[in-house]
Every structure is written in structure tokens, then in C-alpha cells.
Symmetry: C2
Subunit: 479 residues, 2 copies
């Protein structure tokens, strides 16, 4: 038992130091390792398997809406990056520059893509000639680089993995439709698969993407009350099209600019899973995204028939379509429980001599430790129910936590006090002026997260300046 | 018909100019597009979908042997690259160097990975402590950069996609076993899925990977008689382990070095598919790798019921598990046939008013244009047979072509003449001395492709110097 304790005690408690707890989980659940390049990490098998499941789920949802995958180069010549003014201003300060190829200096330096709008525009300018060539609905899975000063595993790393969708349409309406369609794909994926509830809304001009006409976002709340931007979808209008001369001839033989969108989701969602669902025993993975859903743990495995029964259960459940492993190592059951909990495996099945005699097994949920004694005849069916219930309850619990940490405020003094004392979202009215956003950020460190699609009128005036209000905004401190 | 002709005539004939034919197919089958960075290409949907199928097939085969996927950074600090002497000499001349992060120069420049041995070694040095930590059998899917002077789509590009497996083992035997196991995975994949026959063998020291103890390869022959190295698997022994100090304590508590392997396959296999199976009408995709296996093409689609029947056939075949599309565009059937052929879709199903009346459809194979008239009741079953037969015959045809272009030679004059006049593999004996390889390369431009596992004794002496022979070697001009 000393060993078991050691494993558990090695994690800092969430309430003591949330940042340290996060780092501990990331390491102890074997999701990542640090490398000799600051801000670049190794994503280890347990972490990468989560990303593979995210890819599989998202990719299928994308393809169901007509998305096709492509791959564009990782290098952007400096002159190409500079074609759209706002875009280059937004990204140039944080790109990595390649200056030499082999032993020779390059004629023009190139950056490693921080995002690929400019490359897609260059590509579309050649590909799109006629209305028959539209729409283009392309996506790529790749890594991108942003030379950030402060880095944290998954949440903010200098290189990260993501997908970036880039589309070109004949009309503004179609571009807007696609922008919202993809935001909805992200929102549904987060809620249905990751059990993370999200607020859908639009970013203010201050917070929108460099070069976009409008940025839409899904915002989620972490356990510590900080917000996380979880996916964005941008409508570019024809701004990039004009900068890159992406034109097509319409049915009436007139030259028109295309209307574009882009949308992305990244490995930071693994950070979100950790911070929304984790607890002081480690990671808790929602069943639908967990690479291993069930760990079969034999009790008193030296006794005759126990290991065989554990293997038989594993085989039966694999056949039934669950992702299952059995822990037949020479560690103690208590140690195995701790490991299964640390790694966030949604349920364990305990099976010992007495269980076998009684023709039963014990299913233990990772999230609330609820035990269910199940007849071995009904194991697969009951397991499906337990995982299903767990998935639903994890979403409900996260939603309840978010709602309990969302505050409506109309008075500026209370606004500042709430942001200082109560971690969470603050909903308040805003006049639409960036000066108020700047003031709020300076005085509270909070930013406008979004103007939610579901608007409410909390009062007539801006919480900050008292002038007439234009929109209700979610405010919060963010990762 | 004028339009149909134009589409077909746009390809150069293979016999006229194979290199130009290749470039034409790559463009006209819409696999890639060029970009403003020389040697970097856009892989378009039709090309990327082939890569996705390659990934899916290979990844499943890897995982069945216990491989786990990970992701390591794309940057390698210069000091890390330099740790293994042979390795840095092999790669330093062709890497891209990052010198600035954001607005500031880096303290130490980094290269974009040309391959990740050094990163995996750095990682394993921390991860591996005890025999309990072994083996490590990791793989990553990513892009790598090699700043080549001469580039060609898929075959040699400055950035390309691949997978790289990197393993660490307790013993030399286990490392050697894994090296050969993965070579066999590649060989089986090429023959079973890509219908490309391969020669398995070992590289000479001159041709082996920078830093490897032994490199194993699968070599295939393109339609023009040039060889293509199609996959390699390296045994590093403990060379990298010593350079990077990757040590573990064994069961007897003694410190030991690990033994390592690495193995990779790349997007150049798309080039191999084109050059092994393509013809003067364009691409020909083996059914098992084709993103679209069947194109349903309605004849006289303006007549009542024709389009509906085409859609019904598509739905039926989709349900039966085939990858199917129907071409309901307003182009002529002849134009649609040309397009389907250019894109290499394995079969088309022609369905017109007379077919419907007779309760039948026509299946046309892409590779040999063979037509089969099939009763609509038996369509799915017959289609499966046709695709199956086509897959097998494509492999057989490629094997027959390779065998017909493989020459056994014992005399040096004949050796030089054969390499000059007859494109293909030349099998000849070799003394084991690199001087003979150098001479042969200088005088014929051919290189030793491999020492095949299946050795034959063609004569007692080296074809080049006349000294006693040590091995039979496949020689050839290569991509």
C-alpha cells in the first residue's frame, strides 16, 4: 500500500495549486514529455491516442458535410505572408524563420506556417477560374508553429497539431452559412464526444482573427473558472480574395471575387479534457474519446482461474466492440486501481475468486467511483449502459459547474469584484466600443470571450461606460 | 467528341517521353499542384485521398505488431543533430535552418527534421531506465524536409509526408527481428494493396542509411525500367545508443545499451503507383487503394429513368461496401469515360436505356478495358469479382514486366551494355568492395539496389574486378 499511496500523493491537489495539478496530471498520466526545444513537446502514446480519436471523430463529421482533405507546404515565403496587411501584422511577430537551405542562404526567407490562409489563397488564385470550380471546401491536418513566449503543454505550445479548413464560395451568403455550419460541427463534437459544454458566439473586433471580417467561437469553462477558446470559425468576406486576386467568372460571364472561410481545432482540446473532467486522482476521460474504455483488473490473480477469467472477459468485451485492456502485471490491485484512475480510463472491471464463484463482476466508474455488481451473463449490456450514463453525466456535471460559475452583473464595481473574487464567466452588457474592452482588460485581466448567439438584455447600458448597450458579452480570464 | 479528344491528347505518350508523361498524369489526374516554393507541392484531394488509404492500411498493420503512435517536435537543435557523427554528415548538407523565432535571433539554430533519429534518441535517453521500459515501439506520421537540388512531384520533394518508426530493444536479436518484421510489413503491403512486386534485400555499406549498422530495402521497378527504393528498415545496433547514452539496467542490475531500429515509407509510393500501373490514358489505381473504386456513368441520361437507375446502382453498391460515385454532370459519356480513365478509377459501370430494358449493366475495367455485361441482380457480386481479379492481374502484370526486364550478366562488357541499352534490373556478382560500386556508378550511372535475400550464384567472380564474389546484387538506374 505504501507504493499505491506514493503514486497518488505525487499529484498536487487541484485546490492547492491548479497549475501544478495540471502539470502533474499531464506528466503522470503519461500524455507528454518535455524536449530540449523550449515550448515543443513529445506527445506520448497515451496522449496521441486521444488526438487520433479526436481526428477520427472530427474528420468523419467534416466529410459528412462535403469537406475534402489536402496537404499544403509548411513554408510560406515572406512576400506571400505579407500580402494581406492585417494578417501579417497579426502573425509576423511570432513566426519561426527559415533562412538557409542546406549550406546556402535562401534568396527569400520563409516562415514555418503559423496558419495557412496565405498558402490556400495562393493555391485558390490558380485553381478557381469559373463558378464551376466553386465551392472549394478543403481541410488539412498538420502542425503549425507560433513562437510564443510563455508555453504550457497542450494549451500553448510553440508547435501544435491541428486541422485547418479553408473554403472559397461564390457568394457571401454561402460563406456565412459554411462558417456557422463548421462552428456547429465543433460545438456538437465538444458536447457529444468530449462532454464539454460550450457557449457559441461571435468575437468582438478586438478579439477576432487577423484578417477576418468576423470570427465565431465556442468557449468552454475549465474547472478553475478560467475560459478556454475551444474552436474558431472565421468569415473572411472577400478581403483575402482581393489581396490575392482570387476571381471567378460567374454564369453571366462577369468577374467576381470569392468569399472565404477558415476554421480550426487543435491539440489544446486535450488540455480542455484534462481541466474540465480531471480530479485529484488524475485524468478522467469521457468514454467516447477514451483510447482505452475499460481496464479489467484481476483480484488475487495468483489463484487458479482468475487470470483466465480476466482474459475471457477482455476477449468478450473486445468482440462486443469496446476498447479494453486487462492489467495482468505483478503489481497489487490497489496499485493497478491508482494507475487506471491516474490515466483516466473510464471504468475498471474488478474480478476475483469470490466474484467468479458468484458469477459476477464489479464495474467501477472512474468519475464518481460508483460500483455496480453485474452478473457475468449481462456484462456487455450493463457495461454499455454504465459508459453511456457516465458520458451523459459528465456533460451534465460540467454544464452544472459552468452554470454555477456564471454571474450576471450590471454594476461596474460588482463586475470588477466578481472577476476578482469569483472565477468563472461574467455576463454583462457592452456598448460596442473597444475602449471599454481595453479598460476592462487593464483593470481586471479579463477579456470579452464572445457575444453569445443567445442574447439576453440584462440592462440598457454598458457595464463599463454607462452608454447605451449593444450586446450582452461573456467576460472571463482565459487560457 | 472534339472535347474528349482534347482531354486525352493532352497527355504525352509514355514511350515518347516518360518523364513528361509522368508530369502530365500528376497534373491531369489532379493529384498535385505546384507552389511558389520550389520543390514543395500541394497534394490535392485526389492525391491526398490515396495517401489517407495508404496511412489507414499501413497504420492497421503497424498496430497489429504492437506499434504505438506518438508525435515529436519538428525542430532539432543543431547540437542534437551533431551527436552521431555519420548521421550529421549524411543530413547536414540538405536541411533547412531556422535562425529566428519571431523578431529575435535564436541562441542556437535549429533544423527542420529531415528524419527524427536524434529526437527519438534524446527522448528514449530519458524514458528508458530499466529492462521493464523495453521495448519501445513507436511511430509517427509527419512531414519532413530535405533541401534537394533536383525535385519531382512525389518522387523527390523538399517537403514530403511519411511515417517513421523508431524502436529500442534490450537485445541485438530483438532489434534485428523487428527490422526484418517491418520490412516484411512493407513488402506485403506493396504487393497485396498497391499491386507492386518488390525485391527484398540488404543495402551495401555505400548505400546504407547515415548512422545505420545495416539497411534493408524493398526495391521495385517502374514501367520505364528504372528502380525505385520503396521502403527501408534500418538496424542501428547500439551506435546511436552510445552517442546518446541510452542505457537500461538489466535483470541482473547491469547497465546495458539499447539496440535500435527505424523504418519509413513515404508519399513517393504515390509516384510508384503512377509509374508501375499508369498508361497513355492516365492513372490506373489498384482497387484496394483507390479512393473511388467505381464510377457509375449514365448513357443518354436525359432519357427517363436513366439517372434514377444510376443513382439506385450507386446506393446499392455503397451499401455493399464499395467506394462509388456517379457522374451526373452535363458532359458527354465519352468525356466522362476519359475523365474516369485519366483519374485511374478502377472500373466504370455504364448504364443506358437499352441496358435498363435488358435488366443489365456494363462493367468496364480500367486496366485492360475488358467489358463484362452483368445482370443487375448480380451486380454487387460480379463487381467484387471483377475488382478482385483486376487487383490480382495488376500485380501479376507488374511482376511479369519486372521479370522481363531483369537480366543476369557475368561479363563486364555485357554488364555495361545491358545497363546502357536495356532499362531494368541487372543481376550480377560483386566482390563486396566499394571501389567496384564507385566504378560501376561512374561508368553506367547505375547503383547497387540491394543484395537480395534470395541469393543465386551466377558465377564465382565479381562482374567488375574479377576477384572472388561475395554476393549477387541487383543493379539499376534509380529514381
Amino acid at each position: 500500500m505504501a507504493k499505491d499511496k506514493k503514486l497518488v500523493e505525487a499529484i498536487t491537489s487541484m485546490d492547492t495549486d491548479f497549475a501544478q495539478w495540471y502539470t502533474d496530471v499531464v506528466k503522470k498520466a503519461e500524455l507528454i514529455d518535455y524536449t530540449s526545444v523550449k515550448g515543443c513537446m513529445v506527445i506520448k502514446p497515451a496522449g496521441y491516442a486521444i488526438w487520433e480519436n479526436i481526428q477520427k471523430e472530427l474528420d468523419a463529421r467534416f466529410k459528412a458535410t462535403g469537406v475534402e482533405n489536402v496537404y499544403l507546404p509548411m513554408f510560406i515565403p515572406e512576400s506571400l505572408l505579407q500580402k494581406e496587411k492585417d494578417h501579417v501584422e497579426g502573425f509576423a511577430p511570432e513566426v519561426a524563420w527559415v533562412t538557409h537551405g542546406g549550406l546556402e542562404p535562401l534568396q527569400e526567407r520563409m516562415c514555418v506556417r503559423p496558419t495557412s490562409e496565405t498558402l490556400f489563397c495562393d493555391f485558390y488564385a490558380k485553381e478557381v477560374q469559373s463558378y464551376r470550380d466553386l465551392p472549394k471546401v478543403y481541410n488539412q491536418w498538420c502542425s503549425v508553429v507560433r513562437w510564443e513566449k510563455t508555453t504550457r503543454p497542450f494549451l500553448r505550445s510553440r508547435e501544435f497539431l491541428w486541422q485547418e479548413g479553408h473554403t472559397a464560395h461564390a457568394t457571401a451568403e454561402e460563406a456565412q452559412e459554411r462558417t456557422i455550419q463548421m462552428l456547429n460541427v465543433y460545438a456538437d463534437f465538444c458536447e457529444e464526444v468530449l462532454a464539454i459544454p460550450v457557449i457559441k458566439g461571435r468575437k468582438t473586433d478586438k478579439e477576432k482573427f487577423a484578417g477576418a471580417e468576423a470570427t465565431y467561437t465556442i468557449e468552454s469553462l475549465m474547472h478553475d473558472g478560467k475560459a478556454l477558446q475551444s474552436g474558431t470559425s472565421h468569415n473572411f468576406g472577400d478581403g483575402f480574395a482581393k489581396a490575392f486576386e482570387i476571381q471567378y467568372t460567374d454564369r453571366d460571364n462577369r468577374l467576381q471575387y470569392v468569399h472565404q472561410t477558415s476554421w480550426g481545432m487543435t491539440t489544446r482540446m486535450i488540455g480542455a479534457i484534462i481541466m474540465v473532467h480531471g480530479d485529484d486522482s488524475g485524468l478522467v476521460l469521457p468514454p467516447r474519446i477514451a483510447p482505452v474504455q475499460v481496464m479489467v483488473i484481476p483480484i488475487a490473480q495468483h489463484k487458479e482461474g482468475v487470470l483466465d477469467k480476466a482474459y475471457a472477459i477482455r476477449e468478450e468485451l473486445l468482440k462486443a466492440g469496446f476498447r479494453v485492456k486487462a492489467d495482468d502485471s505483478d503489481k497489487s490491485p490497489g496499485w493497478k486501481f491508482s494507475e487506471q484512475e491516474m490515466k483516466g480510463i473510464p471504468v475498471r472491471i474488478e474480478i476475483g475468486p469470490k466474484d467468479i464463484e458468484a458469477g459476477q463482476a464489479v464495474i467501477v466508474r472512474r468519475d464518481n467511483r460508483e460500483k455496480t455488481i453485474v452478473s457475468l451473463d449481462e456484462l456487455a449490456g450493463k457495461l454499455a449502459e454504465v459508459l453511456d450514463t457516465m458520458q451523459k453525466e459528465m456533460l451534465e456535471r460540467a454544464r452544472a459547474h459552468r452554470d454555477a460559475h456564471t454571474y450576471d452583473v450590471t454594476d461596474y464595481g460588482e463586475f470588477v469584484k466578481t472577476l476578482e473574487e469569483k472565477p468563472g464567466f461574467v455576463r454583462a452588457m457592452w456598448c460596442g466600443d473597444q475602449a471599454c474592452e481595453d479598460k476592462i482588460k487593464e483593470e481586471t485581466a479579463a477579456t470579452s470571450r464572445c457575444m453569445p448567439f443567445e442574447q439576453e438584455k440584462l440592462s440598457d447600458t454598458c457595464v463599463c461606460c454607462g452608454r447605451p448597450a449593444k450586446a450582452m458579452v461573456y467576460w472571463g480570464k482565459a487560457y
